[in-house]
C-alpha cells in the first residue's frame, strides 16, 4: 500500500536523525581544534559535499533517465565561476565584505543559487539539441559541450586567464569573495552539510513522484513510454536541466573551498578527482539508479583518491609500488573494471538505503534473538 503515514514517519525519522547528527557536528566543530581537524578533516568534508551532490545529480541523468552524459563538469564549472564572480562583485560593491559577519551567509547562499540557476539555463541550451541523440552520440556531444563551456569561460575577459583565473594559486579568491581559508571552512562547514542535505532531499522528492516514474519509464523503454502518454523529450530535457542545476550548486561549493579557480580543474583530461569521467565512475560504482549509492561511492572514491594522493607517497613503500599509483585515472579505471566484473549493478544497484527499514530490520533481528533466548531458558 502506498501509505502516506508510514512515509511521513520515514521523513520524520530521517529529519530527526539528520538534525541530531548536525547538532553533534556543530558541538564537535566548536570544541575540536586539532590541526588534523581543520587542515585535513574539514577540507575533506567540503570536497565530499560537492562530490556527493555531483554524483547524485549525474545519477538522475545516467541512472534514472538512462542517458550517458559526459559533460557534467561543464555545469559545475559554470556554477563555480558564477558563484565566485558574484561574491567578488558583492565584495567590490561594498556589501558582504566581512566574511566573518553572520550576514555573509546571504552572500554564500545567493552565489550558490545563482551558480545553480545559470548552470540550469545553460543546461536548457545544451540539452535541447543534445538530447535528440542517444547512446554514444549523446556521450560524445555532451563531452564536446563540456569542453566548449570550459573554453568559453577561459576566454571570457572577466573570468578566464585574463580575469578570475589570472595569476597563481594565491590569487584573488582568497582575498575577496568566496574562497575560504581553513578557519572559514570550519566556520561554514555546516553550510556545506546543510546544502548537501537539501540538494539530496530535492532529488529524492523528484524521483519519488510521478516525474521519477516518468523518467524511469523512459530509461526502460522510450517507445512504450511515449505510447503511455509520456512526453519523452520534455522529461529528458527537464531532468537534464534539474541535474545541471545541482552540478552548478556543487560548483559553487567548489568555489567556496578553493583558493583559486582554473578551468583546468574541470577539464576532461584532468587527472585528478574532478572530471566528468570520474563522476561517471562514481555513479556506476555506487549503483545506477540509487542516490544513496552515489553518496556512498562519492565518499569511498574520495577516500581512495586521498589515499593515492597522500598516504601512498608518505608510506615509504618501495618506489615501484608508489609509481603504480602515479596515474590515479588508471586506478579508477581498474576499480571500475573490478566493480563491473563482480557487482555489475554497482554497490547498491537500484536499491536505496533507508533508515526506517534498517531500524525495522535490526528490530526484527533483535526480536528473533529475544525469542530464541526466551525459548532456550
Amino acid at each position: 500500500m502506498m501509505n502516506k503515514n508510514t512515509k511521513l514517519k520515514g521523513y520524520l525519522v530521517n529529519t530527526v536523525a539528520l538534525a541530531v547528527l548536525l547538532m553533534a557536528f556543530l558541538i564537535l566543530n566548536a570544541n575540536f581544534k586539532t590541526p588534523f581537524y581543520s587542515v585535513v578533516f574539514i577540507p575533506s568534508l567540503w570536497q565530499i559535499s560537492y562530490l556527493i551532490i555531483l554524483a547524485a545529480s549525474l545519477n538522475l541523468v545516467l541512472g534514472f533517465l538512462g542517458q550517458l552524459s559526459l559533460g557534467h563538469c561543464g555545469f559545475m564549472a559554470i556554477g563555480a565561476y558564477t558563484a565566485a564572480l558574484l561574491s567578488l562583485y558583492f565584495e567590490r560593491a561594498g556589501i558582504f565584505t566581512d566574511k566573518k559577519a553572520p550576514v555573509f551567509i546571504v552572500s554564500i547562499l545567493v552565489s550558490l543559487l545563482a551558480g545553480g540557476l545559470l548552470a540550469a539555463i545553460v543546461g536548457i541550451i545544451v540539452g535541447i539539441p543534445a538530447l535528440r541523440l542517444k547512446g554514444d552520440y549523446l556521450a560524445i556531444i555532451t563531452l564536446g559541450f563540456g569542453m566548449i563551456i570550459c573554453n568559453v569561460i577561459n576566454n571570457l575577459p572577466f573570468a578566464g586567464m585574463e580575469g578570475l583565473s589570472k595569476g597563481s594559486a594565491a590569487a584573488s579568491l582568497y582575498k575577496t569573495g568566496l574562497g575560504f581559508g581553513n578557519t572559514l571552512k570550519t566556520k561554514y562547514a555546516w553550510v556545506a552539510i546543510v546544502i548537501t542535505i537539501l540538494c539530496l532531499a530535492a532529488m529524492f522528492m523528484f524521483i519519488r513522484s510521478r516525474f521519477g516514474r516518468a523518467i524511469e519509464s523512459i530509461r526502460d523503454d522510450e517507445i512504450a513510454a511515449s505510447a503511455s502518454g509520456i512526453n519523452v523529450s520534455l522529461y529528458k530535457v527537464g531532468t537534464f536541466v534539474y541535474s545541471a542545476f545541482f552540478a552548478g550548486i556543487a560548483g559553487g561549493l567548489f568555489a567556496c573551498c578553493n583558493s583559486s579557480l582554473s578551468t583546468a580543474s574541470f577539464a576532461f583530461t584532468n587527472g585528478s578527482i574532478l572530471n566528468s569521467t570520474f563522476i561517471v565512475v562514481m555513479v556506476v560504482v555506487g549503483g545506477m539508479g540509487s542516490l544513496t549509492g552515489s553518496m556512498l561511492s562519492a565518499v569511498l572514491m574520495f577516500l581512495l583518491n586521498y589515499v593515492i594522493k597522500n598516504v601512498i607517497k608518505a608510506s615509504g613503500m618501495p618506489l615501484f609500488v608508489q609509481n603504480l599509483f602515479k596515474y590515479p585515472m588508471l586506478v579508477y579505471a581498474i576499480v571500475l573494471i573490478i566493480v563491473i566484473m563482480f557487482k555489475p549493478k554497482g554497490i547498491l544497484g537500484t536499491r536505496e538505503f533507508s533508515l526506517v527499514n534498517t531500524i525495522e530490520y535490526i528490530k526484527g533481528k533483535l526480536g528473533k534473538k529475544a525469542v530464541k533466548e526466551g525459548g532456550s531458558k
Binding site: M1, M2, K4, Y11, A202, M205, F206, R208, S209, R210, F211, R213, A214, E216, S217, R219, D220, D221, I223, A224, A225, S226, A227, S228, G229, I230, N231, V232, G289, T350
Partner: protein, 258 residues
C-alpha cells in the same frame, strides 16, 4: 443524425523508400465495436498501428479520432487524445514494478506541479493516493493486484501481456489497438485473454482494433474484419463472409494453380 466514428482513416498510406508498406487504408470504427485486422506476415498490420499512434508520419491520407484530425501529432499527443496500444513484442518497463508500470500511464491524469512534489503538499498526497487506487483497480481486472510489487520482467509471459493491456487502459483511451495479444500464449492463457477482452468491453465501452493470427479467436470475438495483404485492403466484412472470401483464402494459402 449520423454517428461520428471513433476512428476513421481516409486513404491512409506510407512509403518507406520504394516500399509501399500501406496504401489506401480506409476503416471506420464506432464506439463499442471490436474490429479485427488480419493479413499474412509482413502485410502491413503493425505499420497501420504505427501510423495511428504517431510513430510514423503517413505519407498519404488522413486519420481522425472522433472527427478530429490526428495527422502530424506526436505519439504522446495522440495518446492524450485517446488512442492507446499494445506492442507485438511486449514492451514493458522491465526494471519497474507491476504497479509502477500502470502508474506511468496515469501520469497525466493525476497531474500535480513539480513544486507540489518538492514540498509534498496535501495535493501531492491526495493525487498520489487516487492514482494508487486507480492503478490497483486496473490491475485487479487482470487478477494482477497481488503481484503489484513484482518487477515487471519477472512475471510469466501471459501476465506480461495482460499487464501491457492494463497499462494501455490506464491512458484513458477511446480506442484500444491490440497487436497480436494472444501471440505465444497457450490455450488456457488465450481463453483468459478472451475473458479479459470481454470485461474491458463491458467496463469501458471502448472501441477495439485487434490484430491477431489466431483465426478462431478472431472469428469468435470480432464483429467486423478487415483483411490486408501487401499493404492493400483485400476484403472487409462480417466474420463468416471473410472466412468464405476467395481472395482471402488465396492470400493465406496461396493460389490453386491448375
Amino acid at each position: 443524425m449520423e454517428r461520428t466514428p471513433v476512428l476513421k482513416t481516409v486513404n491512409l498510406g506510407i512509403t518507406f523508400g520504394g516500399l509501399r508498406a500501406v496504401e489506401d487504408f480506409n476503416i471506420e470504427i464506432y464506439e463499442g465495436e471490436l474490429v479485427g485486422l488480419i493479413g499474412p506476415n509482413g502485410a502491413g498490420k503493425t505499420t497501420v498501428f504505427n501510423l495511428l499512434t504517431g510513430v510514423y508520419t503517413p505519407t498519404e491520407g488522413k486519420f481522425y479520432l472522433s472527427g478530429k484530425n490526428m495527422n502530424g501529432k506526436k505519439t504522446h499527443q495522440v495518446v492524450a487524445e485517446g488512442i492507446a496500444r499494445t506492442f507485438q513484442n511486449i514492451r514493458l518497463f522491465k526494471q519497474m514494478t507491476v504497479l509502477e508500470n500502470v502508474k506511468v500511464a496515469l501520469n497525466s491524469k493525476y497531474e500535480y506541479k513539480f513544486f507540489a512534489s518538492l514540498f509534498r503538499t496535501p495535493k501531492f498526497w491526495r493525487k498520489e493516493e487516487e492514482l494508487d487506487k486507480e492503478a490497483r483497480d486496473l490491475l485487479s481486472i487482470f487478477n494482477l493486484e497481488n503481484k503489484a510489487n513484482y518487477i515487471a520482467s519477472n512475471l510469466p509471459y501471459g501476465q506480461q501481456r495482460k499487464l501491457e493491456i492494463a497499462r494501455a487502459l490506464a491512458t484513458g483511451m477511446k480506442i484500444l489497438l491490440l497487436d497480436e495479444p494472444a501471440a505465444g500464449m497457450n490455450p488456457t492463457e488465450t481463453a483468459e485473454l478472451l475473458e479479459c477482452i470481454k470485461i474491458i468491453r463491458e467496463r469501458f465501452g471502448i472501441a477495439i482494433l485487434l490484430i491477431e493470427h489466431d483465426m478462431s479467436l478472431v472469428m469468435n470475438v470480432c464483429e467486423r474484419i478487415q483483411v490486408i495483404n501487401f499493404g492493400k485492403t483485400i476484403a472487409f466484412g462480417l466474420p463468416h463472409e471473410i472466412a468464405n472470401n476467395q481472395e482471402v483464402i488465396e492470400a493465406y494459402l496461396g493460389k490453386n494453380e491448375d
